[in-house]
Amino acid sequence: MLRYSINRILLMIPTLLGVAVLVFFLLRIVPGDIVEIKLRGDGGTVTQETIELERKRLGLDRPLINQFGTWMIDMAKLDFGNSMWTERPVVTEIAGRLELSLQVAIMATIIAVLLAIPMGTAAALFRGTWIDYTVRLVTIGGLSIPSFWFGMIIMLTLLSLFNWLPPITFTPIYVDPVANLTQLIWPALAVGYRYCAVVARMIRSSLLEVMNEDYIRTARAKGVYEKLVVSRHALRNALLPAITVIGLEFTFLIGGLVVTEQVFNLNGIGQLFVQSVSRNDFTLIQGMVMLIAAFYVFVNLAIDLLYAVFDPRIRYNS
């Protein structure tokens, strides 16, 4: 397993290299120029010379291949450069937002999994009864209601019922947990609903399948308590496919919450993404794409390793 993990981590290098090439050159194909936006964005008149000077300062005048080479070398040194807009290091820019985004993602995952397992299990065990129909109704709602709209409903409800809105400034959880949670629990709920719906439906269908397996019949024939048949024999098998879904949803939440962050006025990765794209802030965009790509690859590896923990048939040897 160790060797397998090392292999997979080494395989990340070509994957990330591919991502780097794609993002670097695609950004430069798309029309738009940070210097133009920066200096002429407010309608001010700036001479062509000033613009050229600024381009030179940012290194944008050099041949593409040189720029790419420099970026690669810097990245190898774990130096992601400075934002072209704010001039602050990319790492600093991202770090400030990542904490918030990661916390929302983790909270949403916890909410989703805690709700999805009982919901999916109950729906499968009581298939065709009102319990099943309720769960199916609730989950179909989760799939079809956009998270940001659900978020708006949450906000409006809070406002009209309690005449209260969550704080809009981010306090790290280690500074003030109450302030932190009162701010972040709502977006976590908003995105967790959809998340929970996806996972619950996955658990329902895979549990239905597992309950028809021969080994469930064997367990019953042994006189195992029905509760134990479900928890020990069925659910553990049924959760395997859900792990994949959980992992994929989790990675999506990092950086994928553009509109929801807007609704809750959260300063997260999603917001930063939109900002940097609208400003053509090449270094920042590149840094964020690389971060999220690396995140994806890591989560996928973690899922595969988790599979091996849950399922003894899977052993990564080669």
Binding site: R217, K222, V224, H233, P312, N317
Partner: protein, 686 residues
């Protein structure tokens, strides 16, 4: 023995007797129904039988006859939403199981009644250790702590013949072979010293040598521990070898039941008679044609009040429009046939089908297919600890097949017989060796020659359920190759040819409009045969072509294959694991083990005068449907299992399991030698 009929008490014992010898299990007038969206399927109707302590009772029947449902009804393991038991009693040890609440029933399952299922590959939970799965009933029913349960689990594994039990307790099911998993299932079944074990097709998925091991084990344990055994099977040989009493089921009802000896030698129901005749027999030379029961079992969703077997029964008379009760007969068995007395008087006998036998005159023609030193190795990538290696799936196999001849290829799973078939079909590239088809060496053949060969070499697969495209009609399935190879021009001609082909395989032309799921297993296999015939082949590989079919249907398909062989002068390579079927259909037989040919001889020679110890063991392991014969012969059990393909034995591949093996066998690879004219064997001891 106590037998109570649904309709009347046939030989009801007095109350006093009943107290002394109350049967362990008494099923009375059991009805089981499945409520499906397409209506009510009456899967079991009015089944009554009893099982005494320590007795071995077999329930036989074809698929859909209700034998498995009967077992699941006793255990109350029917699907919750659809399965219903509207009527009947299941008396077990003085209690009616159908009256118990769920928790009382759960306490009986696994403690007093255990069940062993057909598929050892899927019946154990893949993500739990064997140890946990064996300990579970001990902890639940007997309240053992972990230590005690572990000690008992080790004891159980020893009992069922699993070596190194302590280490194996921590392993998972996928680390066990099929036979070993079935032993684990038996260990679980025995865990709480049950009074009754119900085994549903316990050996159907296993090889014949492993089947013999498992059944001997079950029989010995049940004798030793005085456990009653109900074996559900379709294999009449297994019944003959192991059962004290037999219940024959047909279309949800008991057709006949009685002591095994009587039932096999003096059947009193036409279905039993027909069934016994349609089994190919290992112990008898081949008749000209296999006897069959024509037609199909009725659809249980709409049955009439007539005798259920009447539509297929050659002896039906007017009274057969009324469902017969179970009549007691002269032999002490019960028969659901109005004419049982006439059967007893010998007035009713199944007419032999007769027909011209296949003529196996010595072949002087050039062989249609010649295989020389065929070898196939698969590379296996290495793992963390293993260095990887080569699986020698097929090693130095040579044989000829002549026009119009059937060559049987038998062996257990993993012996390479299917790979040989795939190599001949060019679905795999051989690692070494040559295949000549009609004189053309296929490894050096041109593309055009290969294309021609692909037309003339066809295949019939095992599984008629998955080898036909479910989204194509029968007509499209058969017509597709005609179109692709431009054998016919135009739609009209294609349709005409499809109709003709359907006729050849005994299907009506309107079948062309149907989809595979609308056909029965036998009909699907006929479609598979028609598809193969469409190409006008001269050679067909039949890969386990009848293994998935019921006995009475199997006979029909074998007869069809033989008829087509005569008509079109086809050569067959008949790959199978069933020795009796191979004996019936083949002119010559090749026995393979672990990728190598062990013996080649004429059909009757290989069965009566086999030379190779493996062939002998294989023949011994296969039970014949005759209880008297089975009682006389002491089965010679082959020890052990197939060795690992990654670490093949040195010398003779069979030496690890051979009763005759000596030091020399571990050193020399025995060549395939002509020991007698036309009789080849690869053994230095004979």
């Amino acid at each position: 023995m106590t037998v109570v009929d649904a309709d009347k008490d046939v030989r009801g014992p007095s109350a006093a007797q009943q107290e002394v010898a109350a049967p362990l299990l008494q099923v009375e007038d059991l009805h089981t129904q499945f409520h499906t969206s397409r209506g009510i399927v009456r899967a079991v109707e009015g089944v009554s039988f009893s099982v005494d302590r320590g007795e071995v009772v077999a329930i036989v029947g074809e698929s859909g006859s209700g034998k498995s449902v009967t077992a699941l009804s006793i255990m109350r393991l029917l699907p919750r939403l659809t399965g219903k038991i509207p009527q009947g009693r299941v008396m077990f040890d003085g209690r009616n199981l159908l009256d118990l609440d769920d928790d009382e029933m759960r306490e009986i399952r696994g403690r007093d009644i255990s069940m062993i299922f057909q598929e050892p590959m899927t019946s154990l939970n893949p993500i739990l250790t064997i140890g946990l799965q064996i300990k579970e009933p001990l902890q639940i029913h007997l309240g053992m702590n972990d230590e005690q349960a572990k000690a008992r689990a080790i004891e159980l594994l020893n009992l069922v013949g699993i070596t190194d039990p302590e280490r194996r307790l921590d392993q998972y099911p996928h680390q066990f072979s099929g036979g070993m998993r079935q032993r684990v299932m038996i260990a679980i079944g025995l865990a709480c010293n049950p009074k009754l074990i119900i085994a549903d097709e316990p050996t159907t998925a296993l090889d014949v040598t492993i089947q013999a091991q498992i059944l001997e084990l079950m029989k010995n344990l049940s004798r030793k521990l005085n456990i009653a055994l109900v074996i559900i099977t379709h294999n009449l040989g297994v019944v003959a070898r192991y059962a004290d009493r037999v219940i024959v089921m047909y279309a949800a009802r008991v057709a006949e039941q009685g002591p095994a000896e009587q039932l096999f030698h003096k059947p009193r129901h036409p279905y039993t008679m027909g069934l016994l005749r349609s089994v190919p027999r290992l112990d008898r030379p081949r008749g000209s044609k296999l006897e069959t029961i024509e037609g199909l079992p009725p659809n249980l969703a709409n049955v009439t009040t007539a005798c259920r077997f009447a539509p297929r029964c050659p002896f039906r008379i007017a009274v057969c429009d009324q469902e017969p009760p179970l009549y007691p007969t002269d032999t002490g068995s019960l028969s659901r046939c109005h004419r049982h007395a006439e059967i007893a008087e010998g007035k009713i006998v199944w007419a032999s089908l007769g027909g011209a036998g296949l003529n196996f005159a010595a072949n002087t023609e050039a062989p249609v297919l010649s295989v020389q030193h065929l070898t196939k190795h698969f590379a296996v990538s290495g793992g963390l600890r293993s260095a990887g290696g080569t699986v020698r799936a097929v090693e130095d196999v040579s044989f000829d097949i002549f026009p119009g001849e059937t060559l049987g290829l038998v062996g257990e799973s993993g012996c390479g017989k299917t790979t040989v078939g795939r190599l001949i079909l060019r679905l795999e590239e051989p690692s070494a060796g040559e295949i000549h088809f009609e004189g053309v060496n296929l490894s050096t053949a041109s593309a055009a020659e290969l294309k021609a060969m692909r037309r003339k070499v066809q295949v019939i697969f095992q599984d008629p359920y998955s080898s036909l495209n479910p989204r194509m009609t029968v007509g499209q399935i058969i017509g597709e190759p005609l179109h692709v190879y431009k054998i016919v021009s135009g739609r009209k001609e294609n349709e005409a040819r499809v109709t003709e082909l359907l006729g050849h395989v005994g299907l009506r032309p309107e079948m062309a409009e149907r989809y595979p799921h609308q056909l029965s297993g036998g009909q699907r296999q006929r479609v598979g045969i028609a598809r193969a015939l469409a190409m006008e082949p001269s050679f067909i590989v039949c890969d386990e072509a009848v293994s998935a079919l019921d006995v009475s249907i199997q006979g029909q398909i074998i007869n069809l294959l033989e008829e087509l062989q005569r008509k079109f002068r086809l050569a067959f390579l008949f790959i199978a694991h069933d020795l009796a079927v191979v004996r019936h259909i083949s002119a010559r037989v090749v026995v393979m083990y672990f990728g190598r040919v062990m013996e080649i001889a004429d059909r009757d020679v290989i069965y009566s005068e086999s030379l190779h110890p493996y062939t002998k063991v294989l023949l011994d392991a296969a039970p014949v449907p005759d209880p008297t014969l089975e009682k006389l012969r002491e089965p010679r059990l082959i020890k052990g299992e197939l060795p690992s393909h990654l670490a093949p034995p040195s010398g003779c591949v069979f030496n690890t399991r051979c009763p005759m093996a000596s030091q020399e066998c571990r050193e020399v690879v025995p060549p395939l030698e002509e020991k007698r004219p036309g009789h080849f064997a690869a053994c230095i001891k004979v």
